[in-house]
């Protein structure tokens, strides 16, 4: 790990009381949800992490609390370094501040997380579903959302399963 990345990690740790973990040389910082916008702007302005590479979430239901982790991947072209920031979120319908004001490309990433995980972003300019149809119910990437295989129909239960099958909507 080079010096610039080390000083950035130290700075974030000191200011926002982050917890540091490392796996195979990749550093990850756990930050409280209320600090995330400041962490992003600090990384961008002070430590030359110009790019938000990726943003996603993980659902740890039911075995862990807090239930969700938001995961931000930062990339620095100037220092050739990468940094991961995790934000734990509790509850079934969590809310967190949007980072669109710092990194504009968070727009679609946050829409995707809202769409698939049901995590709401406060201050997002355009929080709509992005991949699923706009009238979809439920959040598919949550762990309590079933994969939804089709049941096998035999003669004895043909009608019963037919009744349960989704029908095309009446327009």
């Amino acid at each position: 790990m080079d010096k610039a990345l080390k000083s950035a990690i130290k700075d974030i740790n000191k200011r926002f009381e982050a917890q540091e973990t490392e796996f195979r040389g990749l550093v990850s910082l756990v930050v409280a949800p209320e600090h995330i916008v400041q962490v992003c702007s600090t990384l961008r302005e002070k430590h030359h992490f110009e790019m938000l590479s990726s943003q996603t979430a993980v659902d740890y239901w039911p075995q862990e609390k807090p239930r969700f982790h938001l995961i931000y991947q930062f990339n620095s072209y100037a220092q050739k370094a990468r940094l991961e920031v995790r934000v734990p979120l509790d509850g079934d319908s969590p809310v967190v501040n949007s980072v669109v004001s710092v990194f504009p490309n968070a727009n679609w990433h946050e829409r995707e997380i809202w769409d698939l995980f049901g995590i709401r972003f406060e201050g997002h300019p355009d929080l709509r579903r992005i991949l699923m149809p706009h009238d979809w119910e439920g959040y598919p990437l949550r762990k309590d959302y079933p994969l939804g295989y089709e049941e096998v129909q035999f003669t004895f239960n043909y009608d019963e399963i037919n009744r349960r099958k989704p029908k095309p909507k009446d327009y």
Binding site: F23, R24, L26, S28, E50, M51, L52, S53, S54, T56, V58, D59, I71, Q73, N75, Y77, K80, R82, E84, F103, P104, N105, N107, W108, L116, P125, D126, R128, R129, I130, L131, M132, P133, H134, D135, E137, P140, L141, Y145, L147, D170, Y171
Partner: protein, 413 residues
């Protein structure tokens, strides 16, 4: 939930109201749907355009028509079996997707890869990059009415797909790389086929260039169209040739080499203008650089095994199954249960033909991935379309969509 009296259109329009200008609500400007079935959107991309005459005021991309839930599906398959899904993401860069996935799994479980396998991986990925750029060149030139380029490009692409089929058995859905190495070694015809390609292809690139590079119609359609600055590129997360066309020499193969890229000599082509023409120049030069890498890989192809010898992760060769009980047990365990990965997560980026292809992989100690997320370059790069197309004509919008090189399977996953 939905009131049967409210129609579908009404809901959609209310949701989109804040995205268009006030003039659209008064009917001064025109709202026009482009796609999802439109030849120049390179797939099923729907664009809602707000037009003032021919001029684009607002462009609102609507994606998700190809969403197949690949990330969700991968969570329910073992590490080996989930790999077939990666081909279906970016169907023009199957080898690159396989590579990203295999590298991530190997890093997660700490698995070695023999040198020969690494070299073959680089070779195949670069061939795939050329094939992908050929499709891009052909189709985006076709959008600008250069029909013949399309035919030439697909002729050469077919040559590469034949090589891929020779190795993996499939033209497109290859799944040739496996965690720990390759599916099998290269066939004997391979070297002659690649040598033949290396011999003919440089002249073919010159041929495409002679058709386009100084073609006045092509220059008119691409110069100063969709101009992006490097600052815009950074803040919107743009990567790959689109970023390099703004003068930034960022290439993950150089910055953090994987699979032995540090051993190859190649340049990172850049251009300064950041317009559609600059993106064209960068991609054409990238084909030449990929060709250099292919030649070096083929010349220095080491002998040796193509799979790791670690039987806890890689199935034993067929020949051992008849004589070794241990091999049978390993084979049985690997194909029924799979191998388990530690409870940890990692993010691994590779350079795909379109930019940074990142995979976030999390294990939970079981043989199935707990969470897989694909940071796909097309998804992020498409976000540039609204600001790139503002103020341009509809016809130029087509050139811009072509120049940022999107693959809808990559966007919608």
């Amino acid at each position: 939930m939905t009131n049967p009296e409210t129609t579908e259109m009404k809901i959609t329009f209310d949701e989109l109201k804040h995205l268009v200008s006030d003039r659209a609500l008064e009917g001064e400007t025109l709202l026009l749907n482009m796609g999802p079935q439109h030849p120049s959107t390179h797939g099923v991309l729907r664009l809602l355009l707000e037009l003032d005459g021919e001029e684009v005021i607002n462009c609102i991309p609507d994606i998700g028509f190809l969403h197949t839930g690949i990330e969700k599906n991968m969570e329910s398959k073992t590490y080996q079996k989930a790999e077939v899904m990666t081909d279906r993401l970016d169907y023009l860069n199957t080898m690159g997707n396989n590579l990203a996935y295999c590298l991530a799994v190997e890093k997660l479980v700490d698995l070695d890869v023999p040198e020969r396998a690494q070299t073959i991986r680089v070779l195949m990925t670069e061939l795939q990059r050329i094939a992908s750029h050929l499709v891009w060149l052909g189709t985006s030139a076709l959008d600008l009415a250069a029909m013949s380029v399309f035919l030439y490009c697909f002729r050469e692409r077919e040559q590469i797909l034949d090589i891929l089929e020779m190795c993996s058995g499939q033209r497109m859905m290859t799944t040739y790389f496996r965690p720990g190495g390759l599916w099998r070694d290269l066939p004997v015809e391979f070297e002659a086929a690649v040598r033949e390609f290396l011999k003919t292809f440089p002249a073919r690139i010159d041929q495409y260039e002679s058709l386009l590079t100084n073609n006045p119609v092509f220059l008119d359609r691409t110069k100063n169209i969709g101009v992006m600055s490097s600052d815009q590129g950074f803040s919107w997360g743009i990567t790959g040739p689109s970023l390099r066309a703004t003068g930034v020499d960022y290439d993950i193969r150089k910055v953090s080499p994987y699979s032995g890229y540090q051993h190859y000599e190649f340049d990172i082509p850049t251009a300064a203008e950041g317009d559609a023409y600059a993106r064209y120049v960068v991609r054409v030069e990238e084909m030449r650089q990929s060709l250099r890498i292919v030649r070096q890989a083929l010349d220095n192809l080491p002998d040796g095994p193509v799979r790791s010898n670690n039987r806890k992760f890689v199935p034993p060769p067929r020949s051992e199954l008849g004589t070794s009980m241990e091999a049978v047990i390993h084979h049985f365990k690997l194909w029924t249960e799979g191998f388990s990965a530690p409870k940890a997560s990692l993010y691994l980026p590779v350079e795909s033909p379109r930019g940074e292809l990142g995979i976030f992989l999390e294990g939970d100690g079981s043989p199935k991935p707990y969470r897989v997320h694909w940071r796909t370059p097309s998804f992020v790069n498409l976000q540039a379309l609204p600001f790139l197309s503002k103020g341009h004509f509809v016809a130029d919008l087509v050139a811009i969509i072509g120049s940022i090189d999107i693959i809808l399977g990559d966007i919608d996953r």
